[in-house]
Amino acid sequence: MNRVRPLIVSVAMAALALALPAPAAMAHGVDLTAGTVEGVEVTAVFDGGGGPMAGAQVTVFAPDDPARPWMTGTTDEEGRFFFVPDAALPGTWDVQVRQAGHGGIVRVEVTAEGAEVAADAAGLPVTQKALMALAVAWGALGTALYFRRRAA
C-alpha cells in the first residue's frame, strides 16, 4: 500500500526582503521599509519520491489555544509554507498539513532562546526524519538569532 506522507520540516532561517526605490512623484507618496525576518519553514512532500505537496492546506496552532487555528494558509508550488511564531507564546506549536485525504502534523518547540522541531513529527517516515534532523540543527540556530535580535 503506497502511503502518502507529508512533511520534511525545517525550521529555516528564511528572509523576506523588499528593497524598492521611493517613487519620485510625491502626490501619493509611499514609505516602504525593507527588512528580514526569520521563522519556521515547513516543506511537505509526498512519500516515495512523489514530489512536493503543492497547494496543501496548512493550519498552525499556538500553544495558548491549541484547539483553534492561529494561522491558516497553503503551501507553495514547492510544498513550502513559512510562518513566524509569536515569541510571546512559548511552548509547542503544532503545524498540520493536509491535501487530498492525506496529511500529517509536526511540532515546533518555541522558547525564549529559539525554536526547534520536536522529535515526534507525526506524518514523517523514518527515512525522512534523518533529513529533518539536519534541517533542525541549522534552523534552530537561525531562529535563535531571530529571537535574540527581537530581544535586543
Binding site: 493536509r98 496529511g103 523514518v126
Partner: protein
C-alpha cells in the same frame, strides 16, 4: 521507700511535661488532627466516539473507472475502542505498537455502525462521560466480525449500487477480515480530541473508501488509483447485474494481483481523519 517516691515523682513530672507538650502541639493547628492532604481533583469531561466513511460512504463516490457508487449500507463492526493522552505525542510513523499513555479511555462493548447513514454526519458510536480532561492524541480500535446484528459474522458489509453508461450492478460485499488499528492525532478540518473540564470532545475513526474504489478526479497514474481496486474487477464478476460475494469468493474469482490489492486495502482502510494508522490483521 523515699527513693521509690522520688522515681514516681520524676515519672509524673515527665508525664506532665509530655502532656503539656502534646497540648501545645495540638494548639498549633487548633484541630486536633493532622492536616489532611489536599485532595487532588481530577477534572473530567465527555469524550464521544464517531466512525466516518466521509462523503464517499454517505453521499456516494465515483470510482477511478467512472462507476458511480452509492451505498445503502456500509456496516463496520468495532470494538476495543481506546483513546489515549500521550506526551510526547504518540508517533505513528515509528510503527510501534507500544504506547505509554498518561491517561486512556476505553469504550466498552462491540458496535456495528452504518457508515452510509445518516447522510449528513459521521456515525455515532458511543461516549464516556468521565474522561480525564486533556488532549487525546492517539486512538486504537479493532475491526471485528460482528457477534450479532445486520452484519453478523462479518467485519464489514457493503450493500449498494454501481452505475456507469447505463449499466448497473447491485452489489453486496461481505468481508470477514479482522484488523487492529492504532493512529495518532486526528488530522482534518477541525482539531479533535482536546477535552476541557466539564466540556465535550470527539474522537473519530475514519474509513477511506477512495482507497478502495479509487477516484475519477485523480489521474490514472496517481498512487491512490494505482493502489485502489476500483470497481471494474468486481463488475466483471456480476451476473445479470447482481454481485453478492464473500472474501473467500473474491479470493477464488479475482486475479491474484487484484486480490492482493484488496487484502492490502482492507488492512489499511482505517485512518484518523486524514492521518494514517498502523494496522495488522487479527486473524
Amino acid at each position: 521507700m523515699r527513693q521509690h517516691r522520688l522515681v514516681r515523682t520524676m515519672a509524673l513530672l515527665i508525664a506532665g511535661v509530655l502532656v503539656l507538650a502534646g497540648l501545645a502541639g495540638c494548639a498549633t493547628d487548633g484541630s486536633g488532627a493532622d492536616p489532611a492532604p489536599a485532595a487532588s481533583v481530577v477534572e473530567t469531561g465527555t469524550l464521544s466516539f464517531v466512525a466516518d466513511g466521509e462523503e464517499h460512504a454517505r453521499e456516494g463516490t465515483t470510482s477511478k473507472e467512472g462507476w458511480e457508487i452509492t451505498f445503502e449500507h456500509a456496516y463496520v463492526t468495532l470494538t476495543g475502542i481506546t483513546a489515549y493522552q500521550t506526551d510526547p505525542p504518540y508517533d505513528v510513523d515509528a510503527d510501534a505498537w507500544d504506547i505509554d499513555p498518561l491517561h486512556s479511555v476505553t469504550l466498552p462493548d462491540e458496535f456495528t455502525v452504518d457508515l452510509a447513514a445518516p447522510a449528513s454526519d459521521p456515525a455515532s458510536v458511543g461516549e464516556v462521560g468521565d474522561a480525564v480532561a486533556g488532549h487525546y492524541n492517539a486512538l486504537a480500535w479493532d475491526l471485528v466480525r460482528a457477534s450479532s446484528g445486520p452484519a453478523e459474522g462479518l467485519s464489514m458489509l457493503f450493500v449498494g449500487t454501481a452505475e456507469r453508461d447505463g449499466e448497473r450492478v447491485d452489489f453486496t460485499l461481505r468481508f470477514d477480515r479482522e484488523v487492529t488499528y492504532l493512529g495518532g492525532e486526528y488530522i482534518g478540518d477541525v482539531r479533535k480530541g482536546i477535552l476541557e473540564a466539564g466540556s465535550e470532545a470527539e474522537m473519530e475513526m475514519t474509513f477511506h473508501f477512495d482507497h478502495f474504489f479509487g477516484r475519477d478526479d485523480k489521474d490514472a497514474d496517481d498512487p491512490m488509483n494505482i493502489d485502489a481496486l476500483g470497481f471494474d474487477p468486481l463488475a466483471a464478476l456480476a451476473t445479470d447485474g447482481v454481485l453478492d460475494v464473500s472474501m473467500s469468493d473474491l479470493e477464488e474469482l479475482l486475479p491474484a494481483e487484484e486480490y492482493a490489492k484488496l487484502e492490502a486495502i482492507l488492512v489499511h482502510f482505517g485512518h484518523v481523519g486524514e492521518g494514517h494508522c498502523i494496522a495488522r490483521p487479527l486473524d
